[in-house]
């Protein structure tokens, strides 16, 4: 229990951000028309590729001699950037089609 209180104490700011971010996420997405569910899912998916920032940090912090960290980090960066680039690009492609057509 003490540890838990200690954890809350030392991470209080984090808690605030966490909770507020949850509310923002909910509020922003609420009442979105079903038309946009597919692009939205794909766009949010691209956003979750933000994990690549962590993957880059792994590589930056790794010793050049630490081959395991470097290669795992390498794979993580490749996968992360596929998620980001592919996700945003395909969302864009989808939304391009929604443009109002001239008759």
């Amino acid at each position: 229990m003490n540890e838990f209180i200690e954890f809350i104490k030392s991470n209080l700011e984090l808690m605030y951000i966490l909770i507020l971010a949850i509310f923002i996420g909910v509020e922003v997405i609420k009442n979105i028309p079903a038309v946009l569910h597919t692009p939205l899912m794909s766009g949010a998916n691209a956003l979750s590729g933000v994990v690549i920032v962590g993957a880059i940090l792994v590589m930056l912090h790794a010793e050049p001699s630490n081959y395991i960290a470097l290669s795992l980090g390498f794979i993580a960066v490749v996968l992360g950037i596929i998620n980001v680039v592919g996700g945003f690009a395909v969302t864009n492609r989808m939304l391009q089609m929604f443009k109002k057509k001239k008759k």
Partner: protein, 461 residues
């Protein structure tokens, strides 16, 4: 941390919120996507170059190579993929994000021994990351048709839950024991991967979009957890946004299908029970078959036709020919519109994307609530590859698994033409009494071929 980098992260975080907000409106969606994407690009570039670390050229080279390779792969996939394959793609990309988080956890494990908070985040990243990775891969295989069957172990719910609790206990053990054994971490990774598989294999294909959305949300949470690990706000906020947005979307989809999240995950829907229900003949009666020429005549001499596109249309890639049919009928003076059920296609909103791809006028796509009152003034409803979303059992059979689901009231139309490949029931595995309705005639065959035939007949009239 470098102050410039902090500011960049702050800007990126704001672009995420604004981008997500703009993505929610049809007019601004494209801009929103671009804004979020540029924020992401900024955050990535900033992370690489703005730090106070001694980094060798080798590492820089490797990072550059990884980003180049991944960007090319991601770009090529996104340009090449067919719009009908959208659910598969989201699932695939999502799995990659999860794998990335799990790998980060594995690497960081060794360097954070003894710090309980860090350890919890690392273990959580490994577990959630690996579950989303293998779960997404299974979802991908299922949607792709590579793996069709829903595999259900006996008492799979019990097995899954026990397995999950096992993972939690194991995780708690790792955190408290302060072990530095790499073997144990790989074991945890393996356990997460196995659970992801167990979690998704029993779930039916119709529920797969809900599962993808849920996994998407989990990837966001994994990203947020890694954000806590590094004290990195852009990861934390970005991840949480995706996490909570994903959950809202998941619930929205469940509502559209009249399913609770619990019944999707633990559901006894489709699969074995449904197979038993098929052919019991509860809705028996005669099915009236029709030919392309008869159907063409009916459409040709009607004033108002409503097209109800469904999953079968997407599978048959018939979105282009249906548009031709609509144009031809319009030219002949028939009023044509499309009735779009919220879950038409293979995931919510998917049908809109497909029809937009084949240049169907946006105004012709009518939402369920707006089109339902129109059916009674409609001469012909043409149902293409849709089944459960037009099943009247949702209104009048309390014992039906889809009872209460909002549907398109096509039975109010003067006549109904249904295109299906066979008499097999839809995804949900439920018989549809609409097929036996007096007003219904069935036009059997592959959607694309059948519509093509209709077109030829109509052109000759």
């Amino acid at each position: 941390m470098n102050i410039t980098l902090s500011i960049i992260y702050l800007i990126a975080t704001i672009t995420f919120v604004i981008g997500l907000k703009l993505l929610g409106h049809p007019e601004t969606a494209k801009k929103g996507n671009l804004i979020a994407a540029s924020g992401m690009g900024l955050a990535i570039i900033g992370t690489i170059f703005l730090h106070n670390l001694e980094v060798s050229n080798l590492v820089y080279g490797l990072i550059g190579a990884a980003i180049l390779i991944g960007s090319i792969i991601g770009w090529v996939i996104s340009v090449k993929v067919a719009m009908t394959k959208m659910p598969e793609l989201v699932s695939l990309f999502n799995g990659f994000g999860g794998a990335s988080a799990a790998l980060i956890g594995i690497v960081e494990f060794g360097s954070n021994l003894g710090n309980t908070t860090q350890m919890i985040t690392i273990i959580a990243a490994i577990v959630i990351g690996s579950i989303t990775f293998s779960g997404s891969m299974i979802a991908w295989a299922k949607l792709n048709g590579t793996m069709w069957k829903d595999i259900r172990l006996p008492k799979y719910n019990l097995i899954n839950n026990v397995f999950f609790i096992g993972i939690l206990v194991f995780s708690a053990y790792i955190v408290t024991s302060n072990t530095d054994s790499n073997f144990i971490v790989y074991l945890l990774l393996l356990a997460g991967l196995v659970y992801g598989v167990l979690f998704v294999i029993p779930i039916g294909g119709a529920d797969m979009p809900v599962v993808i959305s849920l996994l998407n949300s989990l990837t966001g949470i994994a990203a947020a957890i890694t954000g806590i690990l590094y004290g990195n706000m852009v990861m934390l906020v970005g991840g949480i946004l995706v996490g909570s947005a994903g959950l809202i979307l998941t619930f929205a989809m469940c509502v559209a299908m009249n399913r609770s999240l619990a019944s999707v995950i633990f559901g006894a829907f489709g699969g074995a029970e449904a197979a038993a229900a098929v052919g019991t003949g509860k809705t028996g009666g005669t099915v009236k078959k029709t030919t392309a020429s008869d159907a063409a005549v009916m459409m040709n001499y009607s004033d108002k036709v409503i097209i109800v596109p469904g999953y079968g249309l997407a599978v048959a890639q018939a979105q282009h020919v249906i548009h031709e049919l609509e144009e031809l009928l319009t030219k002949k003076g028939v009023e044509v519109s499309y009735a779009i059920h919220p879950v038409a296609g293979r995931m919510p909103g998917h049908m809109n994307v497909l029809l937009a791809e084949s240049n169907v006028d946006y105004d012709k796509l009518v939402d369920m609530d707006d089109i339902n009152p129109q059916f009674k003034n409609t001469d012909v409803v043409f149902v293409v590859g849709a089944n459960d979303v037009v099943n009247p059992a949702a209104h009048n059979d309390p014992s039906s698994p889809i009872y209460g689901m909002p549907i398109l009231d096509v039975e109010n139309a003067k006549s109904i033409i249904i295109n299906k490949r066979t008499m097999n029931p839809g995804y949900a595995g439920i018989e549809n009494e609409l097929f036996f309705n007096q007003k219904t005639s069935m036009l059997f065959g592959d959607a694309k071929a059948a519509i093509q035939e209709l077109l030829t007949e109509l052109k000759g009239m």
